[in-house]
């Protein structure tokens, strides 16, 4: 209850600014989380898939 009263006392502009800042921060971390995986070295198994595909195609010719 006390919290809500305090929130209502705050000017609306400051609330919006605070919410915007928080969303921005979440956005930055979200991109970081995704980019962390993008920047990981790709496991060999992935390239093996395409190497095997090459071998299959080569065998057919």
């Amino acid at each position: 209850m006390g919290l809500m009263a305090k929130d209502f006392d705050k000017p609306k502009g400051a609330d919006l600014e605070e919410a915007r800042l928080r969303q921005q921060a979440i956005g930055v971390k979200l991109r970081q989380m995704f980019d962390d995986v993008v920047n990981e070295p790709v496991p060999d198994e992935f390239l093996d898939i395409l190497r095997r595909a090459d071998a299959r195609a080569g065998g057919k010719e």
Binding site: L21, V37, V38
Partner: protein
């Protein structure tokens, strides 16, 4: 065997080069859908195989990233339908993994964000990741998810609000610390990151 126009060798090489370049992004998208890193890599590998097999149906010059993300997503949901029970178990395992992250160097704020993400419905999570981290426009995300642009927009905005609420109100707590600290650590971490750039 299915009849199809074979790609010429040159196009095939270009296709393969572009597909290889997309692997890191496919792994990242899969990780956000599956949570569990090993299951995510299985999903991403299946996607690479399917994309390679379907290469003759890819229109050269169109958005290959969106095309492969669509394959990954379809694969994820068809596996989920096939064995929803197994997926439930996987989900629980993923949540445990995410909660007890074994990487001591993993920043606190990221752990909390990962954990909060697992609490979102999958459709909200994928929309938010595609637009907020994957670099897709709303229209592209709508194509990938097979829904209307307006639907993507509302999913993204619901996901943002829900994430913020989870991080602020603390639907969970970690190591006995008040969960409201999650938002604080994300704010200060983001601030530090933006200053160091």
């Amino acid at each position: 065997m299915v009849e199809r126009t074979a790609m010429d060798q040159g196009s095939e090489n270009v296709f393969k080069r572009d597909l290889v370049a997309l692997i890191p992004h496919l792994r990242a998208f899969a990780r956000t859908l599956c949570g569990d890193a090993a299951a995510a890599d299985d999903l991403a590998q299946d996607t690479v195989m399917k994309a390679w097999d379907a290469r003759s149906s890819y229109q050269m010059g169109t958005n290959m990233k969106a095309w492969t993300f669509m394959i990954l997503r379809n694969q994820f949901y068809s596996e989920k339908r096939r064995s929803w029970r197994q997926t439930q178990l996987d989900q629980e395992a993923a949540e445990r993994t995410l909660v007890a992250t074994d990487d001591p160097a993993s920043p606190l704020a990221l752990d909390e964000l990962r954990q909060a993400l697992t609490m979102l419905p999958t459709e909200q999570r994928e929309a938010l990741i595609l637009v907020g981290a994957g670099g897709f426009a709303y229209e592209e995300a709508a194509d990938i998810c097979g829904c209307a642009v307006g639907t993507v927009k509302s999913r993204v905005s619901r996901a943002r609000r829900a994430l913020q609420a989870i991080l602020e109100d603390g639907a969970y707590d970690r190591d006995g610390r008040p969960a409201s600290e999650a938002m604080r650590s994300i704010l200060s971490d983001a601030e530090r990151l933006s200053q160091s750039r």
